[in-house]
Point group: C2
């Protein structure tokens, strides 16, 4: 194959390689891509269930095993898959070679179990590609500067694939999953949800962090940073999936990419605290110190203009802890009252189009009002408007917004 042939990095997750039959199906797809005249690098996860099996072994020895040794153990999961996939490719007559993260020099920092990739030496992979071979690389793993085996943490295989694509200046990084692309919203809630052909990196980041868990968020960030064209597609059904592209390429008319939502949120409010510099830190400092992650934050001046009302959301699991801390803070600050609500959800409209299109927020609020949905909290960013509403309005709200912005048909 000429060195100038296009280079595609494909990544298959644990479900896609979860059995011998599925590995063989992946091999056939890889071979088709190879036979079509592409250089192909495949990044794979451990077979589904394998990581849990290994973790159970480790925990039988030690409830909190040494992070370094846990990485040595877990890295075997992907190593099994790369060998089996390379065998499957060779049995189809497609020359292939497998490599561990260490062998192709996926260099990471030394943060065992959650390492970050620093760089990848693509030379070895290049040599195999130029010799006409498919290269199969273990995702999720690397080595630190001392040669210790590291892992990137769960889901890290997406990042491995993107990093590999960046190091090799690949033409495209294809992430194969069990969904066939990114949708305008969750099809289980709105059956008319439409698969997007394209979405920008920024939109994808907002969609991913808000619950559309198609791609690991670090992988999307990585792809954006290194300008790697990323495509999400299904390993079970044919189709072009969704291309995550750079904004410049985006269609002018696409105002809104989709509706994201977060269930299991909870809202806390502290009323009438003195409106003085540093008050936000005094309120949120103890919350952060307790390792509670805060999502939305809204601060409003109160009616008396000398005090302020302060509201924020946390994950519902952290609600009780956060309430306890906030009550203590309220005491020391002389606040009037602390209110809490565990029965809320967050709905978000995401789209780079809203930067240049006015009136989107009011259209959103109007659509919700028409259905009698009361908005309890609002927060906006450049490409996203989020509202907090009562939990019972989740489905109704998502469908109302989906219809109001005409998302069931392509822009």
């Amino acid at each position: 194959m000429p060195p100038t042939a296009p280079l595609i990095v494909q990544k298959y997750g644990g479900t896609s390689v979860g059995s011998i039959e599925r590995i063989q199906a992946v091999a056939e797809r890889v071979k088709r891509t190879h036979d079509a005249g592409n250089h192909v690098v495949v990044v794979v996860s451990a077979m589904s269930g394998e990581t849990d099996r290994l973790l159970a072994l480790a925990r039988a020895i030690q409830p909190r095993p040494s992070p370094r040794e846990l990485d040595v153990l877990l890295a075997t999961g992907e190593q099994v898959t790369i060998a089996l996939l390379a065998m499957a490719l060779e049995s189809l007559g497609c020359p292939a070679r497998s490599y561990t993260g260490g062998q192709v020099q996926v260099r990471t920092d030394s943060a065992h179990n959650k390492a970050r990739i620093r760089d990848i030496d693509g030379a070895r992979v290049r040599a195999d590609l130029d010799a006409g071979r498919v290269v199969v690389v273990a995702g999720f793993q690397g080595i630190d500067e001392h040669g210790n085996i590291t892992t990137l943490g769960r889901g890290g295989s997406d990042t491995s694939a993107v990093a590999m694509a960046a190091a090799l200046a690949a033409n495209e990084c294809q992430i194969y999953t069990d969904v066939d692309g990114v949708y305008t919203t969750d099809p289980r809630i709105e059956p008319r949800a439409r698969k997007l052909d394209r979405i920008t990196f920024e939109e994808m980041l907002e969609m991913a962090s808000l619950g559309s868990k198609v791609l690991q968020i670090r992988a999307v960030e990585f792809a954006g940073k290194y300008q790697v064209p990323l495509r999400v597609l299904s390993s079970f059904v044919e189709g072009a999936g969704t291309l995550i592209s750079f904004e410049e390429e985006n269609v002018e008319d696409a105002k809104i990419a989709g509706i994201a939502f977060a269930k299991d949120e909870a809202k806390l409010t502290i009323l009438r605290v003195p409106d003085q510099p540093g008050i936000a830190h005094k309120i949120l400092g103890p919350i952060a110190a307790a390792n509670v992650e805060v999502d939305m934050i809204v601060q409003n001046i109160a009616a008396d203009e000398k005090t302020t009302d302060f509201t924020f959301t946390v994950h519902r699991n952290d609600f009780a802890k956060a309430m306890e801390i906030l009550r203590e803070t309220a005491g020391s600050l002389g606040a009037q009252e602390v209110l809490g609500d565990e029965q809320i959800v967050k709905l978000s409209l995401v789209g780079v189009g809203m930067r240049s299109h006015a009136g989107i927020a009011s259209r959103m609020f109007e659509a919700l009002a028409k259905e009698g949905i009361n908005i309890r909290m609002i927060s906006t960013s450049e490409i996203k408007i989020s509202v907090v509403v009562d939990e019972r309005y989740l489905e109704l709200g998502v469908r109302a917004l989906h219809a109001a912005f005409g998302l069931e048909t392509a822009a």
Copy 2:
């Protein structure tokens, strides 16, 4: 720990690390050795059953998987064990680090599935030992000069341990197995068989190759070549095991180390072939070409003094094939007749003492004659006398020889 502390390499096979409980028991033993003031390097195999599980996965993909990829797959077996053992050591408060063959630079040739170790760079291991850590190394595996993962073939972990001991100039290499040492003969045949405290390398080689399958023969050769003191002992019961030592250290009086035997032998004779130069090659060449391994070979001049009778033994599985080839050869050489016997066994007396002590052979023949056992074939080497007898005399012969040389009591 001072760099001058003694250095012990311990090797544990698949049965010894076959479950979480056994790995924990190994960790306790390693810790005791470490706490007694020794530097300790541990070499481990895959947990019993794991290699077969991986092979089954490979064969489900490909009946004859790529040797390179098979090595990538099989190497995960030991990698799981090293991680678990290091965790178990750390949970006992014993600092430990695990390494794959590639990480400690166990460099082999590129003969996948049956690679041979060329050298080991002990620098990394040394650094850990000097820092007071136990080093746990994956047996059975290495890397070739291109960084490809290789394996040494089944049982190769013994060789890994000996090679590691040689590279580090260890004071002793201890091979833990499911037997507590080397015996004067198989205790299942002669209950009065005695565990030997010491045996020489040469004797061990003869005992191992003749059926006392305690140690991998390549490991013994390696240990002899690099003068590594080797000890065989049990991972399940306490005891000093058997030290495989250099001849000079051996006790003067020990004439005979033990009685080895080989069942499943078969004997072939070609009668009255012309007694001329190159006749042995003409007879054995076609046998070797068919990949049949020949063990004992005896050639005698025939009664007419112009022809010769030629007898050799092969494994019983190869008997039919060897007979067929030999009959063809007999035709082309104009031999009188071809005889075969599948119901024979080989009994061997092994001992470096026989070099300097006369009369051992006649004592052996006398002991067998007393029991009415007819000797069908005799072959001698410097430290071994082997006889072929009828299969039905196996147990009787072993016991007669064991008693005749007083092996039930230490010399």
